[in-house]
Amino acid sequence: MRGWRLALLLPLALLCAAHARTVHAQALVADLNNHLVAITTGFTGTNVTLFGATDGNGDVIVVVRGPERDVTVRRKSKVAEVWVNTRQITFQGVPSFYSIASNKPLDDIAPPAMRQLHQIGLESLRLATEAPISPQETEEFRSALLRNAARAGLYPSGVGQVRFLGDKLFRTDIRFPANVPTGTYLVQVFLVRDKAVVAGQTTPLVISELGIDAEVHDFADRFALAYGLVAITLAALAGWLASLPFRNA
């Protein structure tokens, strides 16, 4: 966790240092209107607004990455008239959520090398496999992974809109669906000038369950056996209670 975050932050830090002489002290400032998204009963997804300012010209790209997990991709093929999982590949450190926004089409402002370096856009996402696998097969399973995550709403397709209000102020809405995984998200903001990243900032965003739901979840996590016993007792009680009105039937 800490390792990859460092790996993400380091190039940004170096870039900032390199441009320190040419760029003013604060080339880019950005913040979220909310650093904690609470998932409570009735949660149907939410928007978080990112706003910020640049020191003048330049374009802005915003990348949101959810906490990383290992994901297994399975492929079915037909065996004796039945579709069976016949091949599986596990990718490591897959972001559980990924969305991107910018004020101009990415092709106009971000050259491929830059996208690769900063993992801007799904096609530039670096996903390692558990065991070495042929490039062709990796590509096949990788695109299946992206496609399935997009279908689940966790990798929104397309590029969101970053809006400039005047020359310096910008804002964008980050949309999180109802099934958004919990954990610590990283919101990366890149300031791009002449097809190069000149400044960057990473802001954490915590998505977590709050209230009664969180307590239920927490209890279920920490006292799993007791939770199971409570669950069956509750169910048995409810069953008995509901039969009472029918007693004299």
Binding site: T44, V82, W83, A144, A224, G228
Partner: protein, 306 residues
Amino acid sequence: MDIYLPIAGVSVDVFVLLGLGAGVGFLSGVFGVGGGFLLTPFLIFIGIPPAVAVASSANQLVGASVSGVIAHWRRGNVDFHMGAVLLVGGFAGSAFGVWIFALLRRLGQVELTVSVTYVVLLGTLGALMLVESTRALLRRRRPGAGRRKLHQHMWIHGLPLKMRFRRSKLYISAIVPTGLGFVVGILSAIMGIGGGFVMVPAMIYMLGMPTAVVPGTSLLQIIFVAANVTVLQAAGNGTVDAVLAVLLLFGGVIGAQLGTRFGTRLRGEQLRALLALMVLAVAAKLARDLGVRPDDLYSIVVVGSE
């Protein structure tokens, strides 16, 4: 009105859950099957993660079965002695089943195994029951047909360790119900169901129990098997959503009571013919799905969440 389910991690309409619970509860009351084989696929269909659907159905079954057993018990239609013997096998079977489940999970074949098992079991049982109940219905129509024997004598009646089950009017080897309980226990763990749809026909055709005592005794057994599965799932996988289970129960318990009343108005063979048709319909749907090319040949699963 949407509600967020803490363990499942998704928002679902409350009324969908209540309605689903009521429908499945009704069937459970009529036939004495827990209805897990219908509930689990429906929950997955409305977007509950499969692992949570399986485990929470088991939790819901505990309550629904308690309610059902009480209703049948008031009519004196529960054989507690038989239930206890079935359970001995049931607990051993579910422990063995949990072990098999873990193995299948590593191989990535849970989904396929569950579907194939459903198709084979439901198809065979449904066909057998349909043939038998149709014959019984036709026999009834013919006037002057001879009275049937209480039950058929088969090789299983020659086994040792004979026990008397008064309520079921049976004198049979304890090995038979224990073995039946074991097999159903394995199925419960693998498929996340109480096993009523296997238990009910087996009680009628294999043990030769009178149809009237079958639903109540089957439900009695389901209470404990489902409770065992719930605790194992909660402790082992953390996939039991109690909020989901309780919501399903609210609708389910009322449905079960109504179902029990409705069931007593139907004759045994009509009940069996109906159950057979329902079981065959589910089997046919699942069999079709196995052979249909999936929309996407690839599927993803987060490691450790299955």
